[in-house]
């Protein structure tokens, strides 16, 4: 009972914060709204029983990605043209098509899928279960992802032109 209530609470927070992201003017506030969304989603994950993922959501997404985002926002002067005029000229067409999109999805989902109970009953993935599953069945993906990270590091270094001398 309380689980369902909390679930609705977290879901609602996520939705509201996501909507707020589109409307807020200052990018810093948008970042904070995004962080709120992510935290709410972490809560949802936890309520669903997938604790490992919930933890990782907070650690990686909020802790690393959003911090980096905030760092970038702080580096740049944000009060320029895009501050006064938030929306592009495609506002109306965009909204229309997005609504159409949602309608089509909703129609499809409720046609095709049986209404899943937003219940907290179901499998629970603890860290142990998760790790075992991961490294037993999906070790190849693990390795590939490591390679991706190395590539990302190299790319970041290249973008910043680390180690190149005499560049004014």
């Amino acid at each position: 009972m309380i689980d369902t209530l909390l679930l609705w609470l977290f879901a609602g927070t996520a939705l509201v914060a996501a909507a707020a992201m589109l409307v807020l003017r200052h990018p810093m506030r948008v970042a904070l709204a995004l962080a709120a969304t992510m935290l709410a989603l972490a809560g949802v994950y936890a309520l669903l029983g997938v604790h490992a993922i919930a933890i990782f959501q907070v650690l990686i997404y909020v802790g690393a990605v959003m911090v980096f985002m905030v760092y970038a926002i702080m580096l740049l002067d944000v009060r320029d043209r895009s501050f006064t005029r938030r929306f592009s000229w495609l506002l109306v067409p965009g909204v229309v098509v997005a609504v159409a999109f949602l309608a089509v999805l909703a129609h499809g989902v409720w046609q095709v899928l049986p209404e899943p109970a937003a219940s907290t009953a179901g499998a629970r993935f603890g860290i142990q279960t998760f790790s075992l599953e991961f490294l037993n069945e999906y070790w190849l993906h693990f390795e590939l992802v490591s390679v991706l990270l190395v590539a990302a590091v190299v790319a970041a270094l290249a973008v910043l032109e680390v180690g190149r001398r005499d560049r004014g």
Partner: protein
Amino acid sequence: MLIGLSAAIFALGLLGVIVRRNVLVMLMCMELMLNGVNLSLVTFAQQTATAAGAVLVFLVFVVATAEIAIAIPIVLLLVKRKNVLDLDAYTDLKG
């Protein structure tokens, strides 16, 4: 319900990319899209009791991180060049 929520979050993210002018805000909206997808993956994993969904979510985390690690420096360098955060300034690849 959670599927609907994930669809809504995804749509809001894509809408944000279309309507907002600030490049940083657009990047954050792309992150929002990824989150929406994560939610749907988790929901399905939990309901069908397969671990694949959870694993995929983890992989999405990693990919998102790598992506943001590159995207932000690129945006920083671009903005340093033009000193404008408005996307309308970055239309050099037209025609």
